[in-house]
Symmetry: C2
Subunit: 341 residues, 2 copies
């Protein structure tokens, strides 16, 4: 079997460490693995297949002989170094927002638009986490009927803001319980027992950056430039799974039955239906955490619109929202895509 020289940029972050773990447990055909990070983290060691790998400093020469480079170190690091990696001959799978809306860069959820992988020119973008989790619920429904408009409100975990944000949630919550004064460091506002508008810039339309990602990345991934989406992205005191309350409006007269919708969701790879009305058991972040599948449920006909269905979704932000999706892109590429290259 062919094996690959792999690099992880941002190896010590929340997504990087999860990628490292997934490369091992999913038995990715790794010939060699290079862990790259900032100066600050260089020299640390991380375990991989029973060995200790030393984290190296990211620099322009780091991608020599690398076949596949996973980037998860922020947009500016990707903008600076991904083109260098491509020039060295690596396939870049970029978890940042740097290239997602670049028309020359495929933006891929492998269960939804894997064929776009073949169009890459060296970089494949991994979508925003909330967008991936939303689309995993929408894609199966979209096979049943055309979706016209989506109204989504999110309940987003601390993990989306990185490992330090997760630590802040835990530590700050302990401080609040001990009645110690708190000073937010990672988030702009207290996250313990609180929630707030997603901590990204608000533009002149009033939408924050996370909401704009959900609107525009959804259109690109689904190849549906007319899809109407409004999103309200909210950070909640949850550790690592995002949840979303979703109102899906279909083209007039085409709304599928709940039975059809449930069947389509159950049959879709990467989705688990959690929809038990009797037990009031629906998707919850603690049950989505650590799971590969995105949990979808609470399906019901919208009483306010005869063309719409309401549903609720929870998905692990670090897994399907980031590291797992990135790795699935690489898996698809080495299995299917490289034959088209």
């Amino acid at each position: 079997m062919k094996t690959y020289h792999v690099a992880i940029v941002g190896a010590t972050g929340a997504v990087g460490t999860e990628l490292l773990r997934l490369l091992e447990v999913r038995e990715f055909p790794v010939a060699s693995l290079r862990l790259l990070a900032s100066e600050r983290s260089a020299g640390r060691t991380l375990p991989f297949r029973g060995q200790s790998l030393v984290v190296e400093r990211l620099d322009a020469n780091a991608f020599e002989n690398v076949d596949i480079a996973f980037f998860s170190a922020g947009a500016s690091r990707s903008r600076d170094f991904a083109p260098l990696a491509v020039r060295s001959g690596a396939l870049v799978i970029d978890n940042s927002s740097a290239f997602r809306m670049d028309p020359a860069v495929p933006l891929v959820v492998p269960e939804i638009n894997p064929e776009d992988i073949c169009l890459h020119k060296g970089i494949i973008a991994n979508p925003n986490c909330s967008t991936i989790i939303l689309l995993m619920a929408l894609a199966p429904l979209r096979k049943l009927a055309p979706i016209r408009r989506v109204v989504v409100s999110t309940y987003q975990a601390a993990s989306g803001a990185g490992a330090q944000a997760m630590a802040e949630l835990i530590e700050q919550t302990g401080d609040v319980l001990r009645e110690k004064p708190i000073v937010p460091r990672v988030f702009p506002y207290p996250i313990a027992f609180n929630l707030f508008c997603h901590n990204t810039k608000i533009d002149e339309t009033g939408y924050n950056e996370e909401e704009r990602k959900m609107i525009f990345e959804s259109r690109k991934i689904l190849h549906d430039p007319h899809l109407k989406v409004t999103a309200t992205c909210v950070r909640v005191p949850v550790v690592r799974a995002h949840s979303e309350s979703v109102n899906v409006e279909f083209a007039p007269g085409t709304r599928p039955s709940l039975e059809e919708a449930r069947k389509a969701l159950e049959a879709f790879p990467g989705v688990a239906l959690v929809d038990n009305r009797e037990a009031n058991h629906f998707p919850m972040p603690i049950e989505a955490s650590g799971r590969d599948e995105v949990l979808v449920g609470r399906l019901r006909y919208d009483l306010s619109n005869e063309n719409a269905i309401d549903l609720f979704v929870s998905g692990d932000q670090i897994l399907k929202g980031a590291a797992l999706n990135a790795l699935q892109i690489a898996e698809w590429w080495i299995k299917e895509g490289s034959q088209h290259a």
Copy 2:
């Protein structure tokens, strides 16, 4: 000045104790105060105006000489005892769901439909907390243009399930941080670092009871039987303020400007506008907690619908969501309504 003999049923609960505090700080004209609760709480003492009042057991004779009885002890207690209180000559202000949808019982938010107070036949119902908080944001906008449809997703605090639920959130969170095993008691699922569908019965439509309250109580309070509402009610690990992500659709061609909407919200009694895009500062439960006003902000034109506006609301569930609204009903009645009696 006329003074009143007042009773609180459920005096030891989260809403009851807040009512007691508000009667004092708002200088309600109390001639005498009777604190009523179940057998279990009888004999406890609670402070009022520098005195210690003994909690008495609720029974059929408890309402002798009572002018105004606040009920906040659950729907079955209200069904059993509110008619007895009325027969004794008391005005009942009921915080439970028992009579809210009874056509003979006014359902009142004093800033919105105070005139309905005069139609009472002994009982005035205090609306569901999430409904009050939603309508405080909608009522000012409704003066600008007709509202056709509302899509709302809630972020509801533990307090809505009572004092024991608030204690469970705090204790369970501490246990999770100490890595102690947890066993949910009040809520059906862990609430620490988690969220779930509101813990009320799901009916055959798939909506939970809280969502049905938001749909049907909104129509009654606004006297708008055609108002279309879909709601997704979610419990989050927040102590005592509910938040709501609201998409408001106006009649075609009538959407007000954001400037008009902000002005209308600012001018509305009981609403505080919190809408600072530069600072990403919008309504948050920790800032709504302990405040009489419902915080409204994040106003923006819905990019998916030219007739809609998105906004976000946070309101103290125990104050405007329950005790304060109930007391405001009584205040309005003794100031204005009793002249119509």
